[in-house]
Symmetry: C2
Subunit: 147 residues, 2 copies
């Protein structure tokens, strides 16, 4: 195979690695009738008192109007609730409900297992390096360096 641009292109390599790692788990989610989007929203709401919608969009890497629509659906399903902010009536706080927590908890347990499994398949040095480098680069202040 020709050695060309794409093989050494960092941004594409990131996409490839991300895809390789998550494919199996995303299939699992689909088998549980949960979309990646709903999954991402819920895991970003767990252990938080709520996020207003725009921040939720930023945290989930999703587009604002998309989050509006998906969270509306999720409200109907009872997974989250949207509460007008007392201090700023434009803002809508999105909170995970008990039902949402009950839905997501076993899936988070599975995600942890899956992550363990993936990491254990790598050479130990690679796994260690990967965790360390990602933890650093995923930090907000690093992203703020216009990474």
């Amino acid at each position: 195979m020709a050695t060309n641009f794409v093989n050494d292109y960092l941004l594409f390599q990131l996409a490839v690695v991300s895809n390789n790692f998550s494919q199996e788990f995303h299939e699992f989610l689909r088998s549980k009738n949960m979309s990646k989007t709903v999954w991402r929203i819920l895991i970003n709401l767990v252990d938080r008192p709520g996020l207003y919608l725009t921040d939720l969009a930023k945290n989930t890497l999703l587009e604002q109007s998309h989050v509006t629509k998906v969270t509306d659906q999720m409200c109907k399903q009872g997974l989250v609730e949207k509460v007008a902010d007392a201090a700023d009536r434009r803002r809508v706080n999105v909170r995970i409900t008990k039902k949402g927590l009950k839905t997501i908890s076993p899936l988070i347990a599975e995600a942890k297992k899956h992550e363990e499994k993936k990491l254990s398949q790598l050479p130990p040095e690679d796994a260690k390096q990967l965790k360390s480098i990602l933890a650093t680069l995923a930090q907000p202040h690093i992203a703020g360096l216009s990474l």
Copy 2:
């Protein structure tokens, strides 16, 4: 902020880092009226004699019928051509055209610059680690380990 699952979740960290790295370049592409999908298809065809459609889908991480549709559009725009395979008439070889090359070449040059810039903003050890670990993990045989 609460320290919870999502902050340490490898698969999400990968998505975050990938997003942080590529956001700026994707905005640049959009300003040139090129979608991420078309970009991804073209960079996977450069320096290759052509790929049949299913392999192109795998290489680009895109869904097969989506690739069928997007490449049809790209044919109309003269960026690629689809040629029936001589040995297996079910297969369609997708090849980048001269026009496609002419379109993508300056963008690849920009991508290289952008990658340089991103890496130079990181602490040197991080940049080195990142390149090395991704190069390893993006290799097909690693992916084949059911990563």
